[in-house]
Symmetry: C3
Amino acid sequence: MSTRLGDLVKSLGGELIGDPEIIVTGIAPLEAAGEAHITFLSNTKLRSQAAATRAAALIAAASEVEALRASFHGAFILTDNPYAYYAHAAQYFVSLTAVPITPGIHATAVVSESAQIAATASIGPHVTIEAGAQVGEHCVIGAGSFIGRDARVGAATVFHPNVTFLSDCHIGARGVIQSGAVIGGDGFGFANQKGQWIKIPQTGGVRIGDDVEIGSSTTIDRGALEHTIIEKGVKLDNQIQIAHNCHIGENTAMAGCVGVAGSAKIGRNCTFGGAAMILGHLTIADNVHVSSGSLVSRSIHEAGQYTGFYPLAKNSDWEKTAAVVRQLDGLRDRVRELEKLVRELTSKK
Amino acid sequence: MSTRLGDLVKSLGGELIGDPEIIVTGIAPLEAAGEAHITFLSNTKLRSQAAATRAAALIAAASEVEALRASFHGAFILTDNPYAYYAHAAQYFVSLTAVPITPGIHATAVVSESAQIAATASIGPHVTIEAGAQVGEHCVIGAGSFIGRDARVGAATVFHPNVTFLSDCHIGARGVIQSGAVIGGDGFGFANQKGQWIKIPQTGGVRIGDDVEIGSSTTIDRGALEHTIIEKGVKLDNQIQIAHNCHIGENTAMAGCVGVAGSAKIGRNCTFGGAAMILGHLTIADNVHVSSGSLVSRSIHEAGQYTGFYPLAKNSDWEKTAAVVRQLDGLRDRVRELEKLVRELTSKK
Amino acid sequence: MSTRLGDLVKSLGGELIGDPEIIVTGIAPLEAAGEAHITFLSNTKLRSQAAATRAAALIAAASEVEALRASFHGAFILTDNPYAYYAHAAQYFVSLTAVPITPGIHATAVVSESAQIAATASIGPHVTIEAGAQVGEHCVIGAGSFIGRDARVGAATVFHPNVTFLSDCHIGARGVIQSGAVIGGDGFGFANQKGQWIKIPQTGGVRIGDDVEIGSSTTIDRGALEHTIIEKGVKLDNQIQIAHNCHIGENTAMAGCVGVAGSAKIGRNCTFGGAAMILGHLTIADNVHVSSGSLVSRSIHEAGQYTGFYPLAKNSDWEKTAAVVRQLDGLRDRVRELEKLVRELTSKK
């Protein structure tokens, strides 16, 4: 599938410097791009690759043109945010070749009579939809997925195959849930009575806003008494665990393998690197950024970047430093003692 | 659905101080509770919220009554363990409104003729049950679940939708397996032969006791030659990995994202915080408690609380401390040298 | 099922010292082995258990015979690599009792007319296979699995039940994918535009070589523009996350809960301990070994063992050392100041 460069820019905005009649067939990275590709420069460290690209057109900031002109002779698409433009352009190309959705309910799907399925929705093979559930217009529910009793799926939301979306969970419009994700499993709640664990029924649901993406094998538990809440625009990567009664603010994004313990309240526009862990009942302010592999053990009230992981070293070096870590308070005491002794020596002068 | 307060206390025990005719409709947290709710005080830090609650009845320790009487005018339910009482009361309310189980095998389920399915069990849509498997009385097997050859599921055990329970795995009575969990995948066993990995067939099974709960997307591998063993009363949260030939003792509980490497032997009544990791072939004593994010690299022979994670800091501060960590043995040597010099200086006096 | 010892050695190689007519029924660990078992000694620490084993035959290195002869009176199977021999022998026993594969497509499977399914392949209940997909000879596709549009599955590859293998993903011959794994979910790619996350379509696929094993609930994302690549012989345990555009070299093995962020390039013959984390866009050389629980934050250009986790301690001790860690740069400054003062004192002598 291909498009005129002029049509693409007309659709997406930005300024075209070059021939609008050029035919382009897709997007490729700077070094892999061929003569029918668009490419993009979003990181100034890659300027030399941009200068050498064979692409037909380069998405770039206006400030880059002068330096690149000498060696790059293709068209420019100028924009303030080349990376976002790339995202939109990639969506544009995907829309040209997307397999059209076939509305309707597959013959093998088991759908309760009391479920409400929009006429434009597509329900795949081996899907189960229970009583009272609602599936909105233009939704795609992939093969093998499960939608529980009284669950609600907003318009144009896509479940990839083998998603489990349990009873009394709601998700808004334009959401995406990747395969293997489980929404609405029981929160981990037990009371200890003389050494036995007594299960606390988890009677809350999950409430997920519009434009939320949930990654493969990510799990979001239902609340104990009240709901677990994921606000609009949140993006969750794969293998993330969100425990019961968490509240995650708008547009916060989490990379793979993050874990959030119960009742944590996380602000808006935060980011969490891979495998960051947030303990329960904490409050995290807006615009907090946590580095990969860092454990958040106390609430964070101030925006900023936070980190806490042990630096990697050759194993033999790590063994040496770890041995000192184990005795660090002793080392501090020795420094204190030295300070005292040196003070005494100095004062005797 | 609602109940007389007197009926609830008659059923669950405890002492009621107040009118048994009061009608209550459910449980809610202290601050959210309305006039038809029961609530509970299990944490003395929340005493002021308890004093202000609008709930019809408060589950509390007898010692709390005097202080709360002045401001809280509802009924008291007195018990030694308010949190456990809350758990039982929540179960009581759930039982009032639970959707009744429909016994029988759904028309779309594929069940081997040699499988034994109790007449009171409920087998959902798109389930597969292989030859020789046994499913006990009052079991519920959720949609899309798989039960392998010769597997056994004890009475009243519930599989939520999309559980995978492979051949030669057994689970006892009253178990719960959340969606996406995989029980009985092959353990990770390979022998290295001249750089190639030779697969070691995993011919053991998994043996799980009574009253075990297994969270969403948790994986428990089958043993290599012998079984992986999960004793009764164990509670596993989501996204946990239990490798082959582990043995986990009674009533041990693990929070989300914990990993246990092969052949670890873990005692009874232990708890593991989220993302704790236990290396292989270790032995952990009874009543050991491991903090979140901590890696257990050696056996633990003594009960107690153990911790090992790098403290979180502002990223700029972390960069400074991490730089010192990398040179810690050098720093210790410098302290030793200083001690020697100061001793010399002191002795010269 | 049983076999003559002579037949086994004839099939697998090695030198038999003992009666080839002995009948053996399986393999067991040194201590559990009975008189009809083979066992193996692959770790010299277990020599005393080997001396006491009741097994009919012991797989061992030739150098062990003299020491063991006095107490162990069974047969020896001599080999340079007893652990690899055990792997082959276990495969041999499994092959004797394996349930034969039933070729064909189960009546409940939904297979596109344009999919190409080899006549010897076995497609289980409730499987969905989309248009253009190819499934090779002797493949086994477990119940509930999904194979997307234009995906390719090489000969003799096995998908355990409930695997999700999405469009444009390829896997080679003799692969194994455990239950719950998701191959080809969208990579986590979003461009930030004025605080909103714009989805970057993930239009690459996943390319997996021959002889690759992928564990339960492991996720491998498709590439953004180009493919995510897993070379032949790679072994991935459970709950692993491989992000978009990673490239993992031949025969590299990763234990459970490892995470690899986007575009990381990992060499051949590497090993990663459980829960190791590799940040994005890094390059890891061949023959690098990363310890469990270690975060790799910079590229590694030299083979060797690398480690970085905080050592575990009793919680009270950890609290003391962690307090010092938070002030480590201050402690270093104090040591510097001491060094200066002591130099001054010394020079005054």
